[in-house]
């Protein structure tokens, strides 16, 4: 029996310690997903709470034989979707994270500056995608989900995931090619 299955059985029996273990197992990737979609740390925190409260409420109906990961992602992605639709303010708040977290202390100033600029370019390119494409990109590239898993998380056909991913990828490539901050790279890339 898998770890998730054991946790589910214990949670269904009313064990809050098992629920806490489940929270600590999945809190970071779920929080990062919410943060990547909403671009707001306060919202990501709130959505993480909502996600686990809902998961607990629905735990009686969960079949523990499979991994809980796609199901939990489904909840957090739906909540994040709704939050973005309600607030319509993607994703400038992400800048604060980038400013806070980029340029690690070990890196040289030149390297750090170069890295931070490239990260900013990529971040802006991802931010320029529409919500549906952005979510697919985050789940596929950032979280490493397969197309089938994304189809389950988003509750849509695999073909839809493929077309969104294809369009997003094309848009990202164009956006990166056209970005002036990478002008030197552009010459190299097109030669």
């Amino acid at each position: 029996m898998g770890e998730d299955a054991q946790l589910v059985m214990r949670i269904q029996g009313g064990d809050l310690g098992a629920f806490e273990a489940l929270y600590h197992k999945y809190k970071r990737p779920l929080y990062h997903t919410a943060l990547a979609i909403t671009g707001d740390d306060g919202a990501a925190e709130e959505l993480l709470q909502d996600c686990f409260v809902r998961a607990h409420a629905a735990m009686d109906r969960v079949n523990g034989s499979n991994s809980l990961s796609p199901w939990l992602y489904r909840i957090i992605v739906n909540l994040s979707y709704n939050w973005v639709k309600r607030n319509q303010r993607w994703p400038l708040a992400l800048d604060t994270f980038v400013d806070r977290l980029i340029a690690g202390p070990a890196a040289s100033p030149e390297h750090a500056a170069e890295g931070s600029e490239l990260r900013a370019v990529v971040r802006d390119a991802v931010a320029s995608l529409n919500l549906k494409q952005r979510v697919v990109v985050i789940l596929f590239y950032f979280q490493g989900f397969s197309l089938n898993e994304i189809a389950y998380v988003l509750d849509c056909p695999v073909g839809t995931v493929k077309s969104r991913l294809y369009r997003a990828s094309q848009a990202l490539r164009i956006q990166l090619l056209e970005d002036r901050r990478l002008a030197g790279e552009l010459v190299y890339a097109t030669s």
């Binding site: 806490e20 929080y31 709470q49 590239y141 950032f142």
Partner: protein, 153 residues
Amino acid sequence: MSSFMRRHDDEADNVSSWSSDDELGRLIRWSLKHSIGAAEPPPGVWRRILDRVQETRTARSARSNSRCSSGPLTSLVQAAVIGCVLLTLGLGLDRDIILARSDHRVHSAPAVQSPSVFEEFPEDVLRGCMLARMEQEEPVRRGGHIREADLPG
């Protein structure tokens, strides 16, 4: 660093063969991990989740307790109300059906035409009667006063 910018025309033909480990994927992962990978949910989140879960549990158990204690009475009242509603609906429906039937009967009844009185007499007799009646009736003047000069003869 710029190799991710190469065109991937072959990929467009076969999206299912994409891997999240391609150059674009590595770039996005690297960028997002550096941007948000170090972010941690605040430590107070679990406490708040636990509070909310326990609140829900308490509310649920209180609801089930109240349901158990007032169970028989509640179900009796519910049954009575449902019975009344069904009875009313049933009666209303019956009346509607009866009315609809009688309407239908009235509308669909064949129109019985009483035989015309005139059909019993031959045509020349009728014409004679009408002429006699016309002679008996006085001429009706319409449109105001008629002067003598206007009269013929």
